[in-house]
């Protein structure tokens, strides 16, 4: 990754991290006000609804210091996931404080959890790619898979013509190397 691209991505993650921390503060304030007017009836879901944004924000602020920076896909999965988790938590709090139930309450937390898990997978994949860089993979694949057998034979013949006959290849002349495909291949 070029330095300028890396800097851009770091800035992007940093700004999104700060945005999530701001959203966490807003959610915490909302939860506190809602609890204030709930006449003493309280809910864990409402009180801790700010946690997904807070943890997500901290994650995004820590990530730019790492070697491997996640891409757009990571952010595109993480942020909607955090929004769904937070909304689901607030919704569960409202319903619990009122003293009622709804079977649909589990939909948003599950959807949010799946998106966050997917973003975590893209993050892990990016980190692995960083450990085995792209140029190493390309070189290796060129060496082991992209050389065809005929070019190997041509190289061998060229070498033979330059070195001349030796004890080992006394019976061989240039252009006479057998083009037998090895069994292992």
């Amino acid at each position: 990754m070029y330095t300028s691209e890396r800097l851009n991505r770091q800035r992007l993650l940093h700004s999104h991290g700060l945005r999530l921390l701001f959203a966490a503060a807003f959610t915490a304030l909302f939860g506190a006000i809602y609890e204030r007017f709930s006449f003493g009836v309280w809910s864990f879901w409402m009180v801790y609804a700010f946690l997904p944004f807070l943890l997500g924000g901290i994650w995004l602020l820590v990530l730019p210091k790492r070697k491997a920076l996640p891409g757009e896909l990571f952010l595109g999965l993480l942020e909607p996931g955090l929004v769904m988790l937070t909304l689901g938590s607030i919704l569960a709090g409202v319903v619990e404080i009122y003293g009622t139930e709804n079977r649909l309450l589990s939909v948003l937390p599950i959807a949010g959890g799946v998106l966050i898990l997917a973003s975590a997978i893209t993050r892990v994949t990016a980190a692995r790619r960083k450990r085995l860089p792209k140029n190493v993979i390309r070189t290796t694949s060129n060496i082991y898979t992209h050389l065809d057998y005929s070019s190997k034979v041509a190289s061998a013949n060229a070498i033979l013509s330059l070195l001349g006959p030796t004890e080992e290849n006394a019976d061989l002349q240039p252009e006479e190397v057998q083009t037998v495909v090895p069994d292992a291949v």
Binding site: W42, E72, L87, I90, I97, E101, N102, L104
Partner: protein
């Protein structure tokens, strides 16, 4: 479209979708009314004419004048005779207001000749979700003499609903205490894990409420100082129903959340019921729902929306009536 723009569009679309879905869940929870079944009337086959006791209650004035009542009559008559507000050949109701724990508590003591006069009714005469009406409105529709709010079954997705001998919801809610009222008028507190709703009806259950917890059993308090309904605060308006003896009940409603009346904890409510001589008592829906209606008049101060005195709409009521 480059990756960044694609991400922005996707994030905006998915967040909007989540907000819309949350809005739908709120509407589904609080507003969208769904009638699942029209109330099926009462299963009066549970009651035989022989099971009905013959109670000849006297008018309040007669009661006050009577000093030479027979032991049987004395047993049948209310203890606070001067507070009798209604009596006929099958029903007698005495009202008393108490001031305990800085709270106004309204107690209706009820004597019946048969449990068939201890009835329940649904809002709009229909079983469903978000089908609600004020306690006083439901009481008026079924010509209730005395009514209190019920267990607000519509606020929950599970918990047995057996009303007037008919099963409306046959899936329980784990370990929630159920108040069962037998056709002979006796109270029992059981658990949904122990038997199915139909088994309860077959066993002679006339009413079943799923709210709780049970407050008093066999004359002893069954809650501790920390017991609470969900995450509610310690002091609240409360509604409870209890049995003192055969066909002799108390309906209790307390005010709360106001400067005039603090409200009761479940333990205080249980202790108060125990002091009335109750053998079995059960907590019904409280908070803003707590309402008592006597002959068409709301006699407590319901506090919907906090400390605003306003009657809340509920799913169902428990009432005393002849129709």
């Amino acid at each position: 479209m480059n990756h960044r723009r694609l991400r922005v569009v996707w994030t905006a679309a998915s967040c909007l979708l989540a907000v819309l879905f949350a809005g739908y869940v709120l509407l589904d929870t609080f507003l969208i009314a769904r009638v699942k079944q029209t109330a099926a009337g009462s299963n009066l086959s549970m009651f035989s004419s022989e099971s009905r006791q013959t109670l000849s209650f006297q008018s309040p004035q007669t009661v006050q004048d009577s000093e030479a009542a027979s032991p049987l009559e004395t047993q049948a008559l209310p203890a606070g005779t001067e507070n009798v507000v209604y009596s006929d050949e099958n029903i007698c109701i005495a009202m008393t207001q108490y001031r305990e724990y800085d709270t106004d508590i309204y107690v209706a003591e009820v004597w019946l000749s048969s449990a068939q006069y201890l009835k329940t009714a649904f809002a709009e005469n229909a079983y469903g979700k978000n089908v609600t009406a004020k306690t006083s409105e439901i009481a008026s529709q079924c010509e209730a003499i005395l009514a209190i709010n019920g267990d607000y079954y519509g606020a929950r997705e599970s918990g047995y609903v057996i009303r007037n001998g008919v099963v409306y919801r046959d899936y329980g809610s784990g370990s929630t205490d159920i108040l069962c009222i037998y056709a002979d008028g006796s109270f029992a507190i059981t658990n949904s894990a122990e038997s199915s709703a139909q088994e309860l009806v077959d066993a002679g259950f006339w009413q079943a409420f799923s709210f709780g917890p049970g407050l008093v059993e066999n004359g002893g308090i069954t809650v501790d100082q920390n017991t609470e309904v969900g995450k509610a605060m310690a002091s609240n308006p409360r509604t409870a129903i209890g049995q003192i003896s055969e066909l002799h009940y108390v309906f209790v409603v307390s005010d709360g959340r106001t400067e005039q009346s603090e409200g009761l904890s479940l333990y205080e409510l249980a202790a108060f019921l125990q002091s009335l001589g109750v053998q079995t008592a059960y907590n019904l829906d409280g908070g803003g729902s707590s309402t008592m209606v006597l002959m068409g008049e709301v006699i407590n101060n319901p506090t919907t929306g906090g400390n605003r005195t306003k009657e809340r709409s509920v799913s169902d009521i428990v009432y005393i009536g002849t129709t």
